[in-house]
């Protein structure tokens, strides 16, 4: 996927949220305020376009904490490049969802 891929504002927000450390579906929903029916398909599209990657956590960790398995998402290199381009296009993104680097 080329670094110049143009994302919708919603997709850019989701990418920014994952970049900011909200790395599973529900936390992205909470952070962005988007409904589940929007967030999960959008994350699947981002994954299909290789902007993010997902993996299930180990069963033993979930069992130890007595909760269901989580699926975590992470930005790929192409995803980071696309996010940088999107941040230029949507300057408020970093203010809406600040990362730790922005805080510092």
């Amino acid at each position: 996927m080329a670094a110049e891929t143009k994302l919708s504002h919603t997709a850019a927000m989701i990418l920014q949220a994952i970049h900011a450390g909200y790395i599973y579906g529900f936390s992205v929903m909470e952070m962005t305020g988007l409904p589940s029916g929007t967030v999960y398909p959008a994350m699947r599209r981002l994954e299909r376009d290789e902007l993010i990657r997902s993996h299930w956590e180990q069963q033993s960790i979930a069992d130890a904490e007595q909760r269901p398995l989580r699926k975590y998402y992470k930005l790929t290199r192409a995803g980071k490049a696309t996010l940088e381009a999107s941040q230029k296009r949507y300057p408020l993104l970093t203010k809406l969802i600040p990362t730790e680097a922005n805080h510092a």
Binding site: L7, S8, A11, Y24, G25, F26, S27, M29, E30, P35, S36, G37, T38, Y40, P41, R44, R45, W56, Q59, R67, P68, L69, R70, K71
Partner: protein, 506 residues
Amino acid sequence: MRIRRFANVAPVHLMLLRSASWLVPGSQRREWSAEWRAELWYVLQRSSTQLSTEPQDKEDAIAFCLGAFKDAFWLRRNNPLPKAHMFFQLDSARQCGIFLAALTAGSLMIALLLPGPRNAILRSPYRDGNHLVLISPDGYLQANSPTIPLEQYEEWKHRTQSIFTDFAFYRPTRSKTQTTGHQTPTLSLALASDNLFDLLNIPISSLELNEARTEHRPALLLSQTAWHRYFGGDAQIIGRVLEIAGQRATVVAIVSDDSWRLPNHIDAWLLEDESRLAALPPNSLGYILGHVTKAASAHETSGQFHMLAPAKGGYDGFDCVSLAKRIRQPFSVFLFALMLACLALPATTPLPLGDYPTTSKSSFSRTRRRRWIFLSIKAALILPLVYCGSLDLAYLNPTMNPVSSEYIQLLASFSGLLFSFRWALRDQRRRCPVCLRVLTNPARVGQPSRNFLGWNGTELICGKGHGLLHVPEISTSWFSTQRWLYLDPSWHSLFHESYLPTSTTF
């Protein structure tokens, strides 16, 4: 990945998520189901830690679960290989043929499994069906209940006949009997004259029958179903003496279920000799079966006739319908519905299939032959499909009045045939004449207000690049029906073999 159920997840949430997961393509279902369930747990967890009110918790969780449906629909729309969707689109001729064949096989299997439709489909078990008639008084032609008193049978039996050679009588009733399991089920019993099965030409072992006669006991015949249901298929039942209808009767035979096509469902037949039958009240209503002489049946070729018989103070009218005609009746109804559907078809869709220009002589005749073979296959599969389907509907309930069943069959056959033929013609018109695939990418061309100045209608294209179809919006004298335009082979490079319309997102 293991999917576990957690305590705070309510059954209604799980049910919603499960329903949504059925909309997800099979290959991705498990993964999506797991992710939704995991995320739902967090939704519920968040609600409980934020001291929110209980209705708010429920609303959040329900909103999340409803969101899963949105995900599922998105997945269906964007599935790169939507197999189920493609199947129902019936794009290729083969898919269409397989789908129709599967439907036909399904309806035929249902018809063979249900007793009513099965009897309507199978051949007549009576070799002499053209000479056997069921007699009913005027106005009771298709009555589903007994209509003739026993005294009428007795009178005809002992009178010299010119039309009939013999009569048989049976009266349906219900009676309890003791089975092998010491139970006393109530059976549908026919009290019948002892020549009933001789007249129907259903063979019964004469050894057991003679034994019963010598012991002056009535003979009892059991239907195959009753034998299995009430006597556990006991192989030693023949020759056993059972108490039924206040008499001790000897079981002499098991009658195959397919052998009985006369009115009323019967579990057992008690064959009474003339003296026992005469002991019944004279006004007991039953059915009379008559065997017509060859000369009389040759005269009445329609299988049905009306007769007058002397009665007190004049003559009574009776209708006689041959068993062959009774058994053929569902097929006759279907043929009538077929004729009506063929007459009504031009009112629902135009009959012409379009103009297909001649290319090289051999390839044109080949494609034309393929098109006609495909249309014939569709029609050949539609006929048994609708016939069996209409029988399934009409004879689903065996206790239903035969007249009602005939009306249901007529209505179901007519509407089924009409809409199926309409679909077959419309489907034929929207297919490529070369590869027989459904044409795609409809495009509106021209303006209705300029119809008489230029061409106005819809253009469709073959996904494999064989040509374009022009369908006029309004028929004119110079463009009355759809026209096919073959594309030159130089166009083929623009088309891909595995052409599939895709939807883009973002």
